[in-house]
C-alpha cells in the first residue's frame, strides 16, 4: 500500500468515525466538537485531490467559524442539559431503512457506472485558477453570492434580536 492510499484510508476513517459521533452523541457539545475531526478529515481529502485553496477555506470557514457558531448556540440554548432529554425521535428504524437503502442504492450505481477516461491535469497554481474562474466565467455567481450573504445577514439579525 503506497502513501497516498494509506493517507486516504486514514482520512476516510477519520471522516466516517467523526461523522458517526456527530449523529450519535447524546451530549450535544460532544457532537459539535466531533465535527472538528470530521471536517478536518474532509479537508485532508481535498488535499489528496489537489484542491489546496478549498482545503484552507474548509479549515478557516467550516472548522474555525461554523463550528464555533454551532458551539455558541448550543451553549446559549441547552448546553449539556440535553443529556436528560430524549435526543432521538421515533423514526429511528425508518431512518435506518431509508439511509441504509439510499447508501446501498448509490453504492450499487456508482460501482457500475464507467466513469470516463481520466481528465487532463489541473491548472498548476490553485488559488489563481479559482480567482480567474470566479472573475471571468462565474462572475455572476460571484456577485450574487454577495447578495445572498447580505440577505442572510439582514434576516439573521432581524430574527435573532430581542424585540423592542
Amino acid at each position: 500500500m503506497n502513501a497516498e492510499a494509506l493517507a486516504f484510508y486514514a482520512l476516510a476513517a477519520m471522516v466516517l468515525v467523526g461523522g458517526g459521533l456527530v449523529v450519535q452523541s447524546r451530549n450535544l457539545v460532544h457532537a459539535a466538537v466531533s465535527l472538528v475531526p470530521t471536517l478536518l478529515g474532509v479537508a485532508g481529502l481535498y488535499v489528496l485531490l489537489h484542491a489546496e485553496f478549498v482545503t484552507a477555506i474548509q479549515i478557516l470557514i467550516y472548522v474555525g467559524a461554523i463550528t464555533v457558531l454551532i458551539l455558541f448556540v448550543i451553549l446559549l440554548t441547552e448546553g449539556a442539559t440535553g443529556l436528560r432529554v430524549r435526543q432521538r425521535n421515533e423514526q429511528v428504524p425508518l431512518a435506518l431503512l431509508v439511509c441504509g437503502g439510499l447508501a446501498v442504492l448509490l453504492l450499487g450505481v456508482l460501482v457500475r457506472v464507467p466513469w470516463g477516461p481520466a481528465a487532463g491535469p489541473l491548472p498548476p497554481y490553485n488559488p489563481g485558477a479559482v480567482g480567474r474562474s470566479f472573475l471571468m466565467p462565474y462572475v455572476l455567481a460571484f456577485e450574487v453570492t454577495s447578495l445572498v450573504i447580505l440577505a442572510s445577514l439582514v434576516g439573521a439579525i432581524v430574527i435573532a434580536r430581542r424585540e423592542e
Partner: protein, 118 residues
C-alpha cells in the same frame, strides 16, 4: 502538493505528542490525593450553586453571526488578490461591487445595533 500538507500533518501529530508528553510525566511523577473538597469548582470561596451552564445573552450570537458572514467574503477576496494584477480594471470593479454590497450589510448591522454590547 499533497506533500506540503503531509508536513503539516506530521507537525500536528508531533506537536500533539510533545504536548501530551509532559502530561504523561506529570501522571508518573505528581502526587495524587483525591478528596471531594479539592475537586469543587472554584466560585470565589463559596459552595457552587446551580449549573455552570446558565442563560447567556443573545449578544454573543449576534457577534458570532456577523463574524461568520464577513469571514466568508475572504473566500472570494483571496483569489481576487492573487489574480488582480493579471486581470486589471474590471476585476477591481467587480470587487468594488462585491464589497459595496457587504458594506451595506455592515452599515445595516451597525444601524440596527447588532454591533452594540448591551
Amino acid at each position: 502538493m499533497p506533500l506540503d500538507w503531509a508536513y503539516v500533518a506530521v507537525f500536528a501529530l508531533v506537536g500533539a505528542g510533545m504536548a501530551a508528553l509532559p502530561l504523561g510525566i506529570v501522571w508518573l511523577l505528581a502526587p495524587r490525593s483525591a478528596y471531594p473538597q479539592k475537586r469543587i469548582p472554584y466560585e470565589s470561596g463559596i459552595v457552587p450553586f446551580g449549573e455552570a451552564w446558565s442563560q447567556f445573552h443573545v449578544r454573543y450570537y449576534l457577534f458570532g453571526l456577523a463574524f461568520l458572514l464577513f469571514d466568508i467574503e475572504v473566500i472570494y477576496i483571496y483569489p481576487w488578490a492573487v489574480v488582480l494584477r493579471e486581470l486589471g480594471g474590471f476585476a477591481f470593479v467587480e470587487m468594488l461591487i462585491f464589497l459595496g454590497v457587504l458594506g451595506v450589510g455592515l452599515a445595516y448591522a451597525w444601524k440596527k445595533g447588532a454591533l452594540e454590547w448591551v
